[in-house]
């Protein structure tokens, strides 16, 4: 049996006779006024501007990491560009619909968010740089690795929270399906923004700390977004 046979025999019709609009619907339409519609990049601009207030304030007021001057300039810039790129990629995929679409695509959002997280994990695992004698280890501050990771991951989550909240507001009527996937991308974007800030201020430069505390924080933020967005958007 060919696919054509199956289509002819099994598939239901594509159109059926629809009932006329109900009285409630006609009543709602009768009194309607012109509305101001959305733009493709409006939500992105709003969430980015509102979410970036906290990271900017932290960077303006916080003391930078002690080994910043000793680290290779190229590496510092490349790492910052990667965190910023992951932030931009995930946030754009979560909030900007494709050209000609009304809604952001959940599949594309989760793929972009996942790719951003994998990129960050790989970079931090393979290309973290420290300057012996200048970069600190958690033990130098009388902390265990776990304590230092929890501290940094919670900081990343704090930075990610405004992105999630403003993003939630921007998406409140926009994502009927695939909310967890969009939430994942939004959380990953917030986590990447947190990772970018912490890249400049965290004094600990060990690979394990950076992978678990910084990139791990971004992963936790993405998981929080995936868990929170469907629940909160339903309310």
């Amino acid at each position: 049996m060919t696919d054509k046979d199956l289509d002819d025999r099994a598939l239901p019709p594509a159109r059926v006779e629809a009932p006329p609009p109900s009285r409630d619907l006609l009543k709602a339409v009768e009194g309607m006024k012109p509305v101001r519609t959305r733009t493709r990049f409006g939500a992105l601009a709003a969430v980015a501007l509102a979410g970036l207030i906290a990271p900017s304030a932290v960077l303006a007021r916080h003391v930078y990491r002690p080994d910043l001057g000793a680290l290779p300039v190229g590496w510092v810039i490349a790492a910052a560009a990667l965190w910023a790129g992951a932030f931009a990629l995930a946030l754009t995929a979560a909030l900007v619909p494709r050209r000609g679409d009304v809604l952001p695509a959940p599949g594309r959002a989760s793929r972009a968010g996942g790719a951003a997280l994998v990129g960050l994990l790989a970079f931090t695992a393979l290309a973290t740089v420290q300057v012996p004698g200048v970069s600190l280890r958690p033990a130098d501050a009388h902390l265990t690795l776990l304590q230092s990771c929890v501290h940094c991951a919670s900081f990343v989550l704090e930075i990610a929270l405004p992105f999630l909240l403003v993003g939630l507001f921007a998406l409140r009527r926009l994502v009927p399906m695939g909310r967890a996937r969009v939430g994942l991308a939004l959380g990953a974007a917030g986590g990447a923004a947190g990772g970018l800030v912490i890249h400049f201020i965290c004094p600990f430069a060990g690979t394990a700390h950076v992978v678990l505390g910084h990139a791990g924080g971004a992963v936790l933020a993405a998981a929080a977004g995936a868990a929170l967005l469907p629940t909160l958007l339903r309310r």
Binding site: L11, V16, L25, P34, R38, G107, P176, G178, R181
Partner: protein
């Protein structure tokens, strides 16, 4: 390599990889042209829907009626495919258009509203199905059991209904429809969206809230399952 092939061709001596090089050159030229044509291709129905939706957002009441006439038959068929109950599908259709009306400020001017409206219809149907699962036995307002389920929709127009020859064999169709009903929910949905309603895999993925790869896989599995269900059983030879 292309230059070498051309040189060899001009001397009349065929290059051993000449065929592959020509195919590569043709593909390299055709691919951007095809992609550009696809990018520029405008679906007339989508552009009409976008134009009507734009007027609707600007407060034109007539545009609402045009939009309803354009999309209600399709959305009704889609909702019926999901809910399998005519009355529930009609209620869900009205609710879908009410939601579209309330959410029209979220529309992006110039965008194709059809996948967006399918997504809203899909969500409405899922809410209805969830409600049904919660209330396994639905009583009427008077506290009695509801009447018999509404009759099935045929989708056959009055004109074609008149010509008996145009009708498929009812027994075969009923068997095939029953097989479709037996498909897992997500496979049936992928098949209905892509094959019946002609949505692209990207659009179907957006409507169902999943990835295009998952939609392709589900539609393929649906075909495999349907084929298995509809395969005629081998006749037993009398011993």
């Amino acid at each position: 390599m292309t230059a070498t092939v051309a040189l060899r061709l001009s001397t009349g001596e065929p290059h051993p990889r000449a065929g592959a090089a020509v195919r590569l050159a043709v593909a390299a030229t055709a691919a951007p042209v095809y992609l550009l044509a696809r990018w520029r291709a405008v679906d007339p129905e989508a552009s009409e829907a976008a134009e009507v939706m734009g007027r609707y957002c600007r407060g034109d009441g007539a545009a609402f009626h045009r939009l309803y006439a354009l999309l209600a038959p399709r959305l009704a068929a889609y909702l019926f495919g999901l809910l399998r109950d005519k009355a529930a599908a009609e209620d869900a259709l009205q609710l879908t258009f009410l939601k579209v009306h309330e959410a029209r400020a979220t529309y992006v001017m110039g965008a194709n509203p059809i996948p967006w409206m399918y997504t809203i219809a899909h969500r409405t149907a899922l809410d209805e199905l969830r409600k049904r699962r919660r209330n396994r036995v639905q009583l009427t307002k008077e506290g009695t059991l509801p009447a018999e389920p509404a009759a099935d929709l045929t989708g056959i127009s009055a004109e074609s209904a008149e010509s008996e020859a145009a009708r498929p064999d009812p027994a075969t169709t009923a068997g095939a429809r029953a097989a479709l009903e037996r498909l897992p929910e997500n496979q049936r949905l992928a098949l209905i969206l892509t094959k019946v309603h002609g949505r692209s895999t990207a659009e179907a993925a957006m409507i169902a809230g999943t990835t295009p790869g998952a939609i392709k896989q589900r539609a393929h599995r649906a075909y495999v399952t349907l084929r298995g269900l509809l395969r005629p059983e081998p006749r037993k030879e009398p011993s």
